[in-house]
Symmetry: none
Subunit: 194 residues, 4 copies
Amino acid sequence: MTRAPQKRRLVTRARLLEAAQNLIAEKGHDALRVEDVVAKAGVAKGTFFSHFEDKDRLLSEIIGADMHASLEKMAAQQPATIQKMADAHQPYFDVIAQNRTTVDVTVRYSGAAAIEDLGPITMAFGRHLDVVADWMENMPAGQLRTDLDTAFLAEGIQAFAVQAIALNFCALHSSVEISDRFRAYLEAWLAPSR
Amino acid sequence: MTRAPQKRRLVTRARLLEAAQNLIAEKGHDALRVEDVVAKAGVAKGTFFSHFEDKDRLLSEIIGADMHASLEKMAAQQPATIQKMADAHQPYFDVIAQNRTTVDVTVRYSGAAAIEDLGPITMAFGRHLDVVADWMENMPAGQLRTDLDTAFLAEGIQAFAVQAIALNFCALHSSVEISDRFRAYLEAWLAPSR
Amino acid sequence: MTRAPQKRRLVTRARLLEAAQNLIAEKGHDALRVEDVVAKAGVAKGTFFSHFEDKDRLLSEIIGADMHASLEKMAAQQPATIQKMADAHQPYFDVIAQNRTTVDVTVRYSGAAAIEDLGPITMAFGRHLDVVADWMENMPAGQLRTDLDTAFLAEGIQAFAVQAIALNFCALHSSVEISDRFRAYLEAWLAPSR
Amino acid sequence: MTRAPQKRRLVTRARLLEAAQNLIAEKGHDALRVEDVVAKAGVAKGTFFSHFEDKDRLLSEIIGADMHASLEKMAAQQPATIQKMADAHQPYFDVIAQNRTTVDVTVRYSGAAAIEDLGPITMAFGRHLDVVADWMENMPAGQLRTDLDTAFLAEGIQAFAVQAIALNFCALHSSVEISDRFRAYLEAWLAPSR
DNA sequence: TATGAATGAGCGTTCATTCAT
DNA sequence: TATGAATGAACGCTCATTCAT
């Protein structure tokens, strides 16, 4: 029977997370070193690993939390048009397109990781599907194509979100903004008539 | 004034690439060791790094070449329907979805990399857009929606290809096959009427 | 707040030093390889570099210790004449003039190095000054010139020691032995009357 | 029968030397790379080694030339006192104490190098002995001790010159200037009465 | 629970020097 | 004579992770 974690433990965990967040804010995700985190948190290296399975787990916990926060902002809205749906993704893009690491990690966890347990990022992707599916359920009639269910359409939206972000980092297409590109994709994917 | 490389240099480069390809065939991408490559190629380690910036570059050169090869196979065809377009992607998926390394490298270079020079994989992604756009240009009338130009539609196809591959590795959706999923996406994206 | 190193750390450090000393005894200073040291000490390579900045530092630590040992032998004596002072330097010369590496490292650290922290060799040079100054303080009256203080005279002795060693390796003067040359220098530098 | 070098060869050699000198002026002696030299001179690497036995040879050629130049300045003078002799060394110190490499190389070549043929630096040291011996020969009577011949005294001067320079780079004694220290040494070494 | 010393396999690097063309 | 591709033996380093205390 696992008992509730002691208070000290929770404090240590919080200090580690805070230290990591500060370091990320200073130097970016990919410059994050366990060594620095424990130094800043004032604990030993071993302690880190008694709190987090590995560094990736810490990282995805932080990124996942950021993603969730942005998704809750989205969930609080109910866009009435496709364009507004696209625009409502801004907080989400802000999190994911922060820098190369966030893009890498998210694109990768959008599926490619050999994950057994559903980590915070995978969960966030699931939440994204739910949020946009929900939006579509509650949209004024006539806005959306009706030949496909919202779950499927949501997957498409996810694909275009990733595509928009990825291409934004790509030398071949750097000229167009994420959001402009995304808006065009969604219109093409979701509009009812042709 | 950089003059053309001498023949010997080209030969050495080819030997390194061949050695690497053989080792990958034997043990997989992630078991590739620079040490082994130079041993097999019969050159010094210094030589390796005078030919390739780092191991990742060699890897992307090889994977990029594989992608190009599969794309040329695709380019040699002219699918007549959306379904056949989807199916014609098989060689492409076979290359990218070989294993975790290929997926990782590909997805990363799909745009997420902060690449200044256009690497072979980025080039391959560009080629993919061209190939499918070309297909669509030459399809029998009535197969495709006509409200969007083929370049734009091609980007969508790319998005769904990445999505299909990524999701295939993802715990949330592992049950469905890449190609089935991809077929459904393309139908929804490209079919003319709803 | 750096706390005192744990016992295990000290043991490991000692093992590394011992391994290096044995290898040097076997094959000489310039045949010393980090790889061999860690193999002999039975530790990982990373451990080596967590204990010593680089190979040079290990080397200077060992040579410095040898110098110190020879200086302690010298300190245990009290030569009564200039000639005996010169002769008493033999253990010191034996250490420094062992081979080209010892000469190089020593000469270099004799001051030429841009060292911020005082390394073991620099410390040994300081100790040398103290030892010979001490000798001179306790010499029978009338042996030494009295117009200069012993600290200054000690610097001169050091200069001639380096000169003697250096010239010994030099094509211009190779015929005369270190100790003969050194004896003549000291006589000229220290004797009271002219 | 070795014929006179062709004009082109001399030009190439001069270009190499000039390139090296410029690079040294820019980045210091220890940052000198053969690669950079040949690039700047606009010749191939192999050419370098057809002109200079090895890099060290080039370096000692340049430093040796600098030393010789400063020694000729010294030779043109005839100091009348010990103090003036010390002061007259300034151009010499300026060359040798330029930076860590010049100190290393000269201290080392002051004897420590395994040199078979007498390189330019060894020659310069020999020239130094001659110059100061000459000075002493032509000094007004009564300035110098007379119990030792000038050749021997010259060696002592050399020893103190090296000592002064070396200690100047040394953390233990950094406070006093080269020339002050040197003046005191010479006075003590050369003055006639005590 | 926390500690922190040790791990370890491999990468990237160095760069003077050689040698076949 | 000049060329420049190739050499090669270490070195330094990385840094997440483990594990005995």
